[in-house]
Each structure stands twice: as C-alpha cells, then as structure tokens.
C-alpha cells in the first residue's frame, strides 16, 4: 500500500474545475516533485492532501486513512503531515522557540521540560540553532522558511508537503532552504513538493509529476522526463523553465 493514494480527484472553485480527475500514488520514502504552469492545479492538489481543501469527488488516502475536512481525527492526522508554505506563515508574535514548541506542547506531544531541547534539536537540523531566541521578523526569508520547516519537523511528521517554499525568496536565499530539504530527503522523509526549482527536481526527486490543465499529464524519473518528454506540453514547459 502506498503512503499516499490519490484516486480520480476532482475539485472545482466556482466555475473553474481545477482538478479534473487526478490519480497519483506516493510510496513511503519517495520524493515526488510536482511541476507545471501556474493554474495547473498543483498547489490545490497539495492542499487537498492535508484537507486544507476538500475534494468534490474521488478520494485521497494517507496511510490508508481517507482524508477529508470532516474526518473524525483531522487534528491527529495533521500532526502526521507537515506542510510548509510559500509565505512561511510563522507566528510573528512568538519567538522562534515558541513558534516551534507551541503545537507539540498544546497537542500533548511533549511536556514543558522537553520543549527547549526539542526546539534546539529541530533547529540544529535546519542549521539555525543560534536563532532559538530570535523573533521571526529578525530573520531573513530563507531563515524564516527553515524555521517553518523546523516547526513541522517538531511534530515528527510521516509526510512533508512543500508548497512553492522557495518562490518568495531572493535568489541567493533559495540554496539554503533547498539544502535543508535535501538533507531531509536523505534521511528518508517522504516528501511531496510543488516547486519551480528544476535543479532540485532533477537532482533530488525520485519522480517528477507534470501537471497540466488539472491533470497528471506525464510522470516518471527526472532523468527520463527531462531528457525525453513524451508530450509537447512538457517539452515546451521544460524549454520555458530553463
């Protein structure tokens, strides 16, 4: 059984059908990169996987459990699925440590005596141990995104979703975030990411999924997909992304 099973998912916003029957499996430990033009439905698909959006038809299963906004243990489910956003979404009124420990403490994952150590541990993994007492706005965009990733790691997720996490960053800050993600990939984290970073998609991902007009248009290992795209849509997308 795949960790994530997506079966014929459809989703409409107003009159626009954003997802037109998407099916996709992601195995445990796999790193899947979803690429495609804006409006192709890739971010929506990602948001459906942790029930930020509900699907109109079809189904999504994560660890065998069907995912939807009204599922009985939605909170428990979301503790197992981390998501990092384009806009970081750190809590600006809390210091870095509290940003990280808030959810583990409130959900009873850890008790107060272990909070500081947990924050130190996950910050070390993203290379920001020295920023534990900083305020979010004192950090650069790249650092904020790494804290946001650390905040997810503190929940020990089984699956990580990344929604264009480098798109809001200055070019010179992209590398540090990608490095953190690469390290997570090496440690065996299952990751699904929507990205415009073709280099990362090519070098780190096990599989590329090209979405076009609300469908999975083409998918396969990066080497094959980038070298021999089967569809003209992917070929032109690769050409334009260079």
């Amino acid at each position: 059984m795949a960790l994530v099973e997506i079966r014929d998912v459809r989703k409409t916003f107003g009159k626009t059908e954003v997802l037109k029957g998407v099916s996709l499996d992601v195995e445990e430990g796999e790193i899947v990169t979803i690429i495609g033009r804006s409006g192709s439905g890739k971010s929506t698909l990602l948001r459906c996987i942790n029930a930020l959006e509900s699907v109109d038809s079809g189904e999504i299963r994560v660890e065998g459990q069907q995912v939807h906004a009204k599922m009985p243990d939605l909170k428990k489910f979301r503790q197992r699925v981390g998501i990092a956003f384009q806009a970081f979404n750190l809590f600006p009124h809390l210091k870095v440590e509290r940003n990280i420990t808030l959810a583990p403490l409130l959900t009873g994952r850890i008790d107060k005596s272990k909070a500081r150590a947990l924050a130190e541990d996950v910050l070390t993994r993203v290379g920001l141990a020295d920023k534990i007492d900083a305020w979010p706005e004192q950090l650069s965009g790249g650092q904020q995104q790494r804290v946001a990733i650390a905040r997810c790691l503190a929940m020990a997720p089984h699956l990580m979703l990344f929604d264009e996490v480098t798109s809001a960053l200055d070019p010179e800050l992209v590398g540090e975030v990608l490095k953190v993600m690469e390290a997570m990939a090496k440690q065996g984290m299952t990751m699904i990411l929507v990205t415009h970073e073709m280099g990362f998609a090519r070098n780190v991902a096990n599989r590329i999924v090209f979405m076009h007009q609300g469908r999975v248009w083409e998918q396969g290992p990066p080497a094959k997909l980038f070298a021999n795209p089967e569809t003209p849509e992917l070929a032109s997308f690769i050409a334009s992304a260079k």
Partner: protein, 216 residues
C-alpha cells in the same frame, strides 16, 4: 454662597468612586459580551454573523443617553417592570461597551491573516487553540489603541449616568459649582481629574503596545 473648600475637593474625589464603578461594571459585563459578539461576527455560520451584525448596528445607532432612558424610564412603560437604577445603568453600559468593543475586536481579528489560522490548523491545533494562542494575541495588539480610545470615551460617557441620579464626577461638579458659585474653578478641576484618569491609560496602552510587539 460659600467659598471653595477642602470639603468640595473631597466631594469631587469621592464622586470619582461612581465614575470608576460604572467603568468597572461596563467592562466586567461588556468585555465578555464584546468578545462573544466579535467571535460571532467572524463565525463561519452566516446566520450568526448576520444576527451579531444587526445587534451591533442597532445598539451603536442608539445614543448612550437613549439606552439609559430606555432601560430606566422605558422598561416600566413598555414591559411594566420597574428596573432599579443600578441595573439599568449596568445593562445600558454593558450593551454600549459590548457593541463598540465587539466591533473593534472584530476588526482586530479580521486583520490577522487567514494563513495564520491555517498554519495553526496544519500543526494539528483545534480551532479554539488557533484562536487562543495564534490569532487572539495578534488581534489584541492590533486592537489595543482603539480599545483604549474607547475606554477613554467610556470614562467620559459615565457622566450621563447622572441623569439617573448617580452622583459621579460630572454631577458632583455641578453640585459643587452650584454651592460655591465658582464654576470655572470647579469644572477646571473636574476636567483635570478626567484628564488625570485618561492620560495614564493612553500612556499605558503605548507601552503595552511596544511590549506586546516584542520584536521591535
């Protein structure tokens, strides 16, 4: 006619008790209702949002004087219930406070980006935890200046309770002025006391704003 003496001074200050008491009553009962109204206004239930908005609109469009009259003089006429003055002022000031603070806080809550709720939800927090730990603290900081602004209004608004017989600061000023024939001195003193009451609030709000902001 007699001259302005220490007695007059004392009577002004003792009248201050009612001013403070009215503010405390208004906040004690009004603030929780305001919070309820604010939360109702941002609820995902359309009917509730609607009802709260209508309630707030209605109360806000009645002058405070009108509210006081209604609950003290109106209730016996319309419902045949004689309401004690203290109950009438408490209800009137509670509604007044709730409507205005509720709207101020609603604005604060809505000013916090939706993505903040979402970020909390994605970490497995309940809606209440998202509100309590993520959105409300940020909204509080945003709403602080208008909240204190309203508080200052409220302090001065307590003078209207004098029409129901409460001898608070403004009413005591009238009495002293009539007894001493020194309106200028008396009302200058009354104004100074109001000022002394409101200025620290404004200063406190400013320091609190800086403290809640933390990072700056």
């Amino acid at each position: 006619m007699r001259s302005f003496t220490l007695i007059d001074f004392v009577s002004l200050f003792s009248a201050l008790r009612w001013t403070v008491a009215l503010v405390v009553l208004a906040l004690t009962f009004g603030a929780p209702v305001a919070l309820g109204l604010a939360m109702g206004r941002i609820s995902r239930f359309k009917g509730l949002r609607w009802a709260m908005a209508a309630l707030i609109q209605t109360i806000q469009s009645v002058p405070l004087l009108g509210l006081l009259f209604f609950f003290y003089f109106g209730m016996p006429v319309f419902l045949g219930i004689q309401v004690p003055a203290i109950i009438a002022v408490t209800v009137a000031y509670t509604l007044y406070t709730a409507a205005f603070l509720g709207e101020i806080w609603r604005g604060g809550l809505e000013a916090v980006k939706q993505a903040q709720w979402e970020a909390g939800a994605c970490l497995g927090l309940s809606a209440w935890q998202q509100f309590r730990h993520i959105v409300a603290p940020q909204a509080l900081r945003l709403s602080l200046p208008p909240t204190v602004g309203f508080l200052v209004q409220l302090i001065k608004g307590t003078s209207l309770a004098s029409i129901l017989g409460f001898v608070e600061l403004a009413r005591a000023g009238q009495v002293v002025s009539a007894a001493t024939f020194q309106p200028l001195l008396t009302y200058a003193l009354v104004a100074a006391i109001y000022f002394a009451l409101c200025l620290p609030l404004t200063l406190w709000s400013r320091s609190l704003e800086a403290r809640l902001d933390g990072s700056r």
